[in-house]
């Protein structure tokens, strides 16, 4: 279990101010570049010293500003996998692993290194220098090196950056293996939402040096807590709207959006006339060519452009509104300029602006 309360100011107005707790499993730090994710990892590993706060790993205090405790990185037992892997270029892969076995009794080192090389399928390339290894081998090597000393926590800084799809999947398998076999808690930095779903048990959304939401990836995707979070996730249509009507008795509300009225469930905590954002994913909307007058919750829009997605066609409408539709359906209606987009009534998400 790791609990971290970290505050650090940098001249130039950036302040990192985060507080979180992560137990077993994989915790993903998600957010745009420069939002403080890697700084948080560095503070846990002991590479930077926070101005205030306290970092606790299991029952061990790694850092406590008030008590003046600041363990050096070597005493923290945090395995760190760097974005660039940081395998020592002056050593072979085997020597890289051996370097990390200082805490293991002499007689067992050799066996332990062989065991890790075997487990990560690196035995054949153990004698090679890092620059002679492939990307996947470097990645496995750096994870093996970080794990060999039995760390209490594994930190990964954007491990999938620069890897192609098969290597990414291999990485996710390794991380899942670490979770199950080593029971080592993992903290992983990423700005890839798919990665959060592939490996994350818990997800922390970073923005401007703060954590703006915490939860499981499906929870967060289903209920982003604010426009900021929704924008960070980058998968939502965010449409400005105004609250026109609220009826708690019948669990109803009406909003004006894109010059049309849209019905939704009752919106607790909102007042008539509130400016809000409708937050809806492209796959939650449906579109069909326009014929006749639009029905309830249907908004007529003009098709602007089309792009292919792996499992759908993304239609870009005026507004702007994006809608995902099955490729077969789009093929049938591709010659239409005017469409109607249907907003779901029950699951309409509304966020305060």
């Amino acid at each position: 279990m790791i609990e971290a309360r970290i505050r650090k100011s940098f001249p130039g107005a950036f302040t990192l101010d985060v507080h979180f707790r992560a137990s077993a499993g994989v915790t993903v730090l998600f957010g745009p570049s420069g939002s403080g994710k890697t700084l948080t990892l560095d503070a846990i590993a002991g590479f930077i010293r926070p101005d205030q706060g306290r970092i606790l790993l299991d029952d061990k205090i790694l850092f406590d500003a008030e008590a003046g405790v600041n363990l050096p990185p070597r005493a923290r037992k945090c395995g760190y996998v760097f974005q660039s892997y940081a395998l020592f270029p002056n050593m072979s892969l085997r020597e890289n692993l051996t370097f990390a076995t200082q805490s293991i009794p002499h007689l067992e080192r050799h066996r332990k290194v062989n065991e890790m090389l075997e487990r990560f399928q690196l035995t054949e390339v153990a004698g090679r220098r890092p620059h002679e290894l492939s990307g996947g081998q470097k990645q496995r090597g750096s994870i093996a090196r970080a794990l060999i000393g039995a760390p209490r926590l594994l930190l990964l800084d954007e491990p999938a950056t620069g890897l192609d799809a098969p290597l990414r999947n291999e990485l996710y398998e390794i991380i899942n293996q670490v979770r199950e076999q080593y029971k080592t808690p993992v903290v992983l930095v990423t700005h890839d939402l798919e990665e959060c779903f592939a490996v994350g048990d818990q997800m922390l959304i970073f923005r401007d040096g703060c954590i703006v939401q915490a939860g499981t990836p499906p929870e967060i995707l289903d209920r982003p807590e604010g426009v900021e979070v929704a924008r960070t996730l980058g998968v939502f249509n965010l449409l400005p709207a105004e609250v026109l009507f609220l009826d708690p008795g019948n669990n109803r509300s009406r909003l004006r959006c894109l010059d049309h009225e849209i019905e939704g469930p009752y919106l607790p905590g909102h007042l008539l006339g509130d400016r809000v954002s409708i937050c809806v994913r492209p796959e939650e909307l449906s579109a069909r060519p326009r014929d006749g007058t639009p029905g309830p919750n249907q908004v007529p829009l003009e098709l602007k452009s089309v792009s292919e997605r792996p499992h759908a066609v993304r239609l870009q409408f005026s507004g702007p509104v994006s809608v995902d539709t099955p490729p077969a359906f789009y093929e049938e209606c591709r010659h239409n300029r005017n469409w109607v987009v249907t907003f779901p009534r029950e699951s309409l998400r509304v966020l305060k602006t």
């Binding site: 395995g79 760097f82 270029p89 370097f99 200082q102 620059h131």
Partner: protein, 225 residues
């Protein structure tokens, strides 16, 4: 043959003095460079400036400082005289000190740059794997910086070999005892011994050229990761 007739003692003395002073510069200068590259302390930039000063001061000024510092009436000079029975100034040991002062700044500057050029990510990786600062230095920082440091050492050796001003102020010009090659060439020109001067000039130029070539060959090439 002219070459046979020349007394080559000054060349050997110069090589010996340069080798010894470079060795001392490597240990002392390496330590100062490590402090400058890795530690934050008060007066760090003042130390850096003080170490660089000999590069820009006229050699006679350095020589004057050394005479004051090591002369027979100075505490250091008296200590040396008590321990060894002879004064420090105007001996070949004084020439070593002169060459050290002349060449160490170059080494400190380059070694600091070499140590600072090592990507901190490797040092941090080593620390997170349980290595202490000593082990990080010997196993990671130094091996990754060693080519640059060796190149800097070769340059420092070449510079030590060529010192004239400081040497003549504190070690003098005693043939067969403190006359280094730079001083010997000056002496030969002064006394109209053109053939000797020419021969020595050619030899020392060749030696310096060889060292520079070595330094260039040692300088690190871009490494792919």
């Amino acid at each position: 043959m002219v070459l046979m007739a020349i007394d080559w003692f000054p060349l050997w003395l110069s090589l010996r003095v340069a080798a010894l002073s470079t060795a001392i510069a490597l240990v002392l200068g390496g330590w100062v460079a490590y402090l400058l590259a890795n530690r934050e302390f008060r007066g760090k930039e003042i130390l850096d400036a003080a170490v660089t000063l000999p590069l820009v001061l006229p050699p006679t000024v350095l020589g004057y400082y050394l005479l004051v510092l090591l002369g027979r009436s100075s505490p250091l000079g008296q200590l040396h005289e008590k321990l060894t029975g002879s004064p420090l100034v105007f001996t070949w040991q004084a020439a070593v000190v002169a060459a050290l002062l002349h060449s160490a700044p170059l080494l400190v500057k380059s070694a600091r740059a070499a140590l600072e050029s090592v990507d901190h990510v490797y040092e941090n990786a080593a620390r997170s794997l349980g290595a202490g600062e000593w082990r990080v230095f010997w196993r990671i920082t130094l091996p990754l910086a060693q080519r640059s440091i060796l190149a800097a050492t070769a340059l420092a050796f070449a510079r030590a070999l060529g010192d004239f001003g400081v040497t003549i102020m504190v070690a003098g010009n005693i043939p067969g005892r403190t006359q280094t090659i730079a001083v010997a060439i000056y002496d030969a020109v002064e006394s109209g011994n053109g053939a000797v001067a020419r021969a020595m000039v050619v030899v020392i130029s060749a030696v310096a050229l060889a060292i520079l070539w070595l330094a260039n060959a040692l300088a690190p090439k871009p490494v792919s990761r």
